[in-house]
Amino acid sequence: MKKKLIAALLISSMAISTLVGCAGKGKDGTKDPDKEVTKEVTDAPKTEDNKEKEGGSGDTVTQGKVLNIYCWNEEFKSRYTDYFEKAGKLPEGIEVNFVITPNENNAYQNALDQALLNQESAADDDKVDIFLVEADYALKYVDTDYALDVKADVGLTDEDLANQYQYTKDIVTDSNGIQKGTTWQATPGLFAYRRSIAKDVLGTDDPVEVQAALSDWNKFDDVAAKAAEKGYKMLSGYDDAYRTFSNNVSAPWVDGTKIVIDDNLMRWVDQTKAYTDNKYNNKTSLWAPEWSADQGPEGKVFGFFYSTWGINFTLLGNALATPVSEGGKEEVGNGIFGDYAVCQGPESYYWGGTWICAAAGTDNLPLIKEIMKTLTCDAETMKKITEETQDYTNNMKAMDELANSDFQSAFLGGQNHIKLFAEAAPKIDMSNISQYDQGLNESFQGAFKDYFDGTVDKDTALDTFYTSAIEKYPELTR
């Protein structure tokens, strides 16, 4: 019965998707004359670098009619639509096709792997042209021939990239020092704390003074003890501080094929264990409902490590007593809106971000170049994105302008948090990234959760970590 139902569902979803696919193509087929493509091509040479290799003998650059973009959510799609397509930059006759596979259970990477491995045999219009990656696994793709050099192949210049934050380039630089991706956002992290709790514990809610009290881990621990005395928790869960430690390691996760556990990660283990035993945290996990609840009106947690998107979207959403979807407004009085403020915290780190890569074998290089240039290099577009969406963009010049303006966030009680981001972003050092980061970080956090919970001792947790790590990456050794 169950199986039949599932089968019926699968069949109908398959049928629907194929039908929809046909419909889409059919619609375009009617208005898709080759004329328009050629027209595009003739006015394409406005940029000098159209002496593309593939052009060969002729001057004209033929471009594919379909641009396939592989990604895992709607975020890039909306950026692309609002700031590229609506700006009228999409050449006529080219259809942009987003292939969205949600991240869950590695599904996106599996789909992308499959598509890239079939890249050579795929028809021109079915080839991957652009794919997006996250920092944690960026090197998996960047360190292969599947991603194109943004300078030599795509055609961006050093000048174009000059205003991007260095760490955003490091993350997508392969082992030969070639940059193979570019991003429109920078995601420096800060420590977001509750003003009311800070007043109670430290006697002040001024970001400068709070930062002075939290500027290194020893001070941070002292504040945690003070907060605990007053009945507050310093952090919500085990993994809250993880990235501040893992972003500041002294060597990559893997040396050759040997897994190296950095001292800084063991510092995280010891600190988190101490916090758990001293009841400085609430034993939650990232993204768990309990964790989100701790950020809301009922929460008694001093603060959260969050980066750009986390503060204006996730934290803001969680802070409201009546969610926007239920008619609540983003204003002071709804929950603890206005009760948060941000400071740099003990160490600089970043969290999240999406990089755009051009896939080898694409037939749309000029368009890809245009997209990368507009969304990730053009100061004006990027400033506009920040102003309209509060996303922190990857352009030092534009961000510095905003940092020195009277930009204010009502959610943070009138603080100009862009200023703090602009100070934090250049300090991020991501030269120790490896292609194993995602899997190993996950395994490490998972294994030590048992240790924090008191189910196992430290050595057992380490063993579990190695077991799980080698299961994921059979080529690695202890």
Partner: protein
Amino acid sequence: MKADRNQAVKHKGVSYAKWGYIFLIPFFVTYLIFSFVPLISTFYNSFFENYMSGLKHIGPNFVGFENFKTIFNGDLLKYISNTIIIWLMGFIPQIIFSLLLAVWFTDLRLRLKATGFFKTIIYMPNLIMAAAFSMLFYALFSDRGPINNILMNIGFLKEEFRFMTSVWATRGLISGMNFLMWFGNTTIILMSGIMGIDTSLFESAAIDGANSLKIFTKITIPTIRPILIFVFITSMIGGIQMFDIPQILTNGKGTPNRSTMTLIMFLNNHLFSKNYGLAGALSVILFVVTSILSIAVFATMTKGITKKKGGK
């Protein structure tokens, strides 16, 4: 009349066997393509080193029994015992409950009312998708979920009990779910077995003065033995293949400390790197284990029956 009979006689000579084979063809074709070929290729794959490192394909290199060695030197025994423990924790209450309910529902003297209604109710959990069921339990028993709330409100607990961090609570939840999902199904299978027993046997036993316990142990159990074997074997194979409930409940990690990691979850872990070699070797081991267990159970449980038949 006569003509009819003649025709019937004529037909007796026609062989219907070929139709039997023709109707079996679809099964064998699908079995060959979707079961037999993969089975053989699993055996073949288990002798190769063959996985993806990022986008780089490593292998296939012939490594002999290296994959089997790796698996046996690993935590295989732990996962086997996890699987068996969780399965038994669900199966024992399941078979007891099902037998009891089946006997009550079929008992002529009890004359229970609305058995149809109850049969439907106890079968219901089986209709829910295991994954959804698991999600539901995950929410119910989360650290600050409804169960903890209720227990704290009635004063049973002072501080929330973190179910998912306790080995036995997590295992208990998984086997509890398996029990809830399958006891209705087992009840109905057992009922069909009991209803197949000639009622005159029960009546004569009652006239001879046997009480219900005696009837149960001396008549019901021995006669439904083949059905019991069927239930046992199917449940055991289902137990070895246990996957979706613990996978969803522990988010694929078999927490805490891999104590709820079942064999198939372990197999599934090798998907991360598309490790065909190790996964193949593990599948072969599973295949052998399942076959041995099934044959052993079948042999021990049918021994009595064949003997009796021989004795008569």
